[in-house]
């Protein structure tokens, strides 16, 4: 997403092992080059730290969505059972939400989970640009099998650093 229209040439280096990839990412960054993207077939542990990525805040978003769900559930049960049409159901107290609340616990819980889970996943799809029929984001189809790709803007001396770091294939585009 960072590089949109400017035609800066990029260099793509393929690696064939996740441990080599991690040390390569560290070497490339130590040599002063900026990595724009890394494509891997599975979550490589420690890669986000090696690349210097910030921690994701999606768990916090899920917590907020859960609070929203709880609020919706409280409003729904209060309006329907207490405010709009209170009824005598098995003698349960219907004049005050707090007194009737124990019977609503399952609903409060389910709606909290429902909102947290679904809205988090929607957020996840949107911020990653994932939707049905989207074009594949990875430039090389081998990176969903067993290859790992580092993508970065072309620069002087970069190819040597990549070769030394263990890249098995380097392409400029």
């Amino acid at each position: 997403m960072a590089h949109t229209t400017e035609p800066t040439p990029v260099v793509r280096a393929l690696y064939h092992d996740d441990d080599v990839l991690i040390s390569a990412v560290k070497e490339i960054r130590a040599a002063g080059y900026k990595i724009s993207e890394v494509y891997t077939p599975f979550p490589v542990h420690g890669l986000d730290k090696a690349m210097g990525l910030k921690e994701t805040r999606i768990a916090m978003a899920a917590f907020m969505y859960g609070l929203l769900g709880l609020t919706v559930a409280v409003t729904l049960t209060w309006y329907m059972m207490i405010s709009d049409w209170p009824q005598n159901i098995g003698g349960k107290p219907n004049y005050n939400w707090g007194m009737n609340m124990p019977a609503f616990v399952p609903i409060l819980f389910e709606l909290t989970v429902f909102f947290a889970a679904h809205l988090m996943v929607w957020t996840y799809l949107v911020i990653n640009g994932l939707y049905p029929g989207a074009d594949a984001q990875n430039p090389d189809p081998r990176t969903t099998d067993d290859y790992f790709m580092v993508e970065l803007p072309a620069a002087d001396g970069l190819v040597d650093v990549l070769k030394k770091s263990g890249a098995v294939e380097i392409a400029e585009a």
Binding site: Y39, T40, L47, D48, L130, P132, A136, Q137, D145, D146
Partner: protein, 463 residues
């Protein structure tokens, strides 16, 4: 960097590379179906269509075509509902609870277990919906404004809690499953040669490219979903049990029901996972991934939860006696020695005695024996629900209205139909979806692969 204790057994057998995992997972998708698949699929389809016919007959004529009577108003329908929901629980347990406990052996089996969850909850949902009689009014269970006042749904009712619990459970399970499937669909898309196949998997994979930030979010989302799904799965069967426990029927009105139902659900669900995976690993040659160790682990879970269920049965009997309530005492005496004694003792034999064989390592690592026990357990768990529902109802407070229940051909047909529907869905899944979460599995290859472990220990010997 990669270290694991040498006492841990490898989870992936043989000399596998990342590419070999890809090849093995994609093989059933890229190759034509074996003849055995078509045979089983045809049988399942016929069963399903028979069930559709019986459902159509029920809707057209009314639920009077079932074997229900004035005394026994809930029978096979609710038995089947609880049975199918219970089976579903193992999938969430494997993918969510075992993820939170960092149990790596879950990775080879979680995809299929979650598929089983979704497909069995779909079957479960059919029963209460069709029990409504006028199915076209099923939307009345939703809190939507209407022309009667608005007359709202009753949030005090366990039956409505069930609506919310089951629909949350089904939809969250689908989402959890799909988040994990996206990277694996991308893998199938990137290899596909046939343009039609490539296009379908392009749609299914949502454009996934395996960017580092996307993976970071993926792992966080998986963890949070597991954290949400764990209490969710416990809440679902708890609420199902409250359908009974909050009533005033002797034999139902017990506080032990929620934990007892949850344990039973896990028990029957793991048995169904065993049944399915023993077939999948054989037909699709996945023995290197779904190893005997995996089967053994699940057998241990079956043994433990089966014993918990056994303790619950005995506790029920004790509490019935200790309560001093004669109706409660009679309900249990009637279960064990009344006209439905055969159902009670089938339940006891299948659920309490049969899992005890799993104390022996020889038996719990024997695949044929495991397969037989997995079927026996599921029969036993069906009887458990039948015993709880029908034997508690058929002799109520008023002896003049005591009666017996016998299913009509429609009851049987709908049940057989859901089994067919379940297998139709599962067989289609097994041919078109990656049945193993290959991206996740690749993360443990270096620590838990057989060849890689051997290499590590040989290497370690030099130091």
């Amino acid at each position: 960097m990669h270290y694991e204790s040498p006492v841990r057994q490898p989870l992936i057998l043989g000399d596998k590379s990342y590419n070999q995992i890809t090849e093995d997972v994609v093989r059933p998708i890229e190759n034509p179906a074996p003849r055995s698949w078509w045979m089983v699929f045809s049988i399942a389809l016929v069963m399903f269509l028979w069930g559709v016919g019986c459902l159509a007959y029920t809707v057209g004529t009314g639920i009077g075509v079932w074997g229900l009577n004035k005394t026994v108003g809930w029978a096979w329908d609710i038995t089947n509902f609880v049975w199918w929901v219970g089976i579903g629980h193992a999938g969430t347990l494997i993918s969510a609870v075992l993820l939170l406990f960092r149990q790596r052996w879950r990775m080879a089996i979680n995809r299929s277990a979650e598929a089983m969850t979704i497909f069995s909850v779909i079957q479960a949902g059919l029963f209460p919906v069709f029990h409504m009689g006028r199915v076209w009014m099923a939307y009345w269970v939703l809190p939507i404004p209407n022309q009667f006042g608005s007359l709202w749904v009753n949030f005090n009712s366990p039956l409505l809690w069930d609506v919310f619990a089951i629909s949350t459970y089904l939809s969250v399970s689908v989402v959890f499953w799909y988040v994990g499937l996206i990277p694996d669909f991308a893998m199938v898309r990137d290899r596909a040669v046939n343009p039609v196949q490539k296009h379908i998997y392009k749609i299914l994979s949502f454009g996934w490219g395996g960017k580092a930030k996307a993976w970071q979010r993926f792992e966080e989302v998986s963890l949070v979903l597991a954290g949400l799904a764990t209490p969710l799965v416990l809440s679902v069967h708890t609420i199902v049990s409250m359908d009974f426990a909050t009533s005033v029927i002797p034999g139902w009105h017990t506080t032990i029901f929620p934990p007892y139902f949850v344990a039973g659900a896990i028990f029957s669900g793991f048995a169904m996972v065993q049944t399915l995976l023993l077939i999948v690993r054989k037909v699709f040659k996945m023995e290197d991934y779904i190893t005997v160790q995996h089967i053994e682990m699940m057998n241990i879970v079956i043994m433990v939860t089966g014993s918990i269920v056994g303790v619950a049965y005995i506790t029920e009997l004790f509490i019935a006696w200790y309560s001093g309530v004669e109706y409660e005492q009679y309900a249990f005496l009637n279960r064990a020695t009344g006209p439905y004694w055969w159902a009670y003792w089938s339940m006891m034999t299948c659920n309490v005695f049969s899992p005890q064989f799993m104390w022996f390592k020889k038996l719990r690592t024997n695949l044929v024996f495991t397969f037989v026990i997995s079927i026996v357990v599921n029969i036993g768990m069906w009887f458990e629900r039948f015993v709880i529902i029908v034997t508690s109802l058929h002799r109520d407070y008023l002896p003049s209205s005591w009666s017996m229940f016998s299913p009509s051909f429609v009851d049987v047909g709908i049940f057989v139909g859901t089994i067919g529907f379940f297998f139709v869905l599962f067989l289609l899944y097994a041919r078109t979806f990656p049945v193993i979460a290959q991206a996740e599995l690749k993360t443990i290859l270096k620590t838990s692969g057989e060849a890689q472990k051997k290499h590590h220990s040989d290497h370690g010997a030099h130091h």
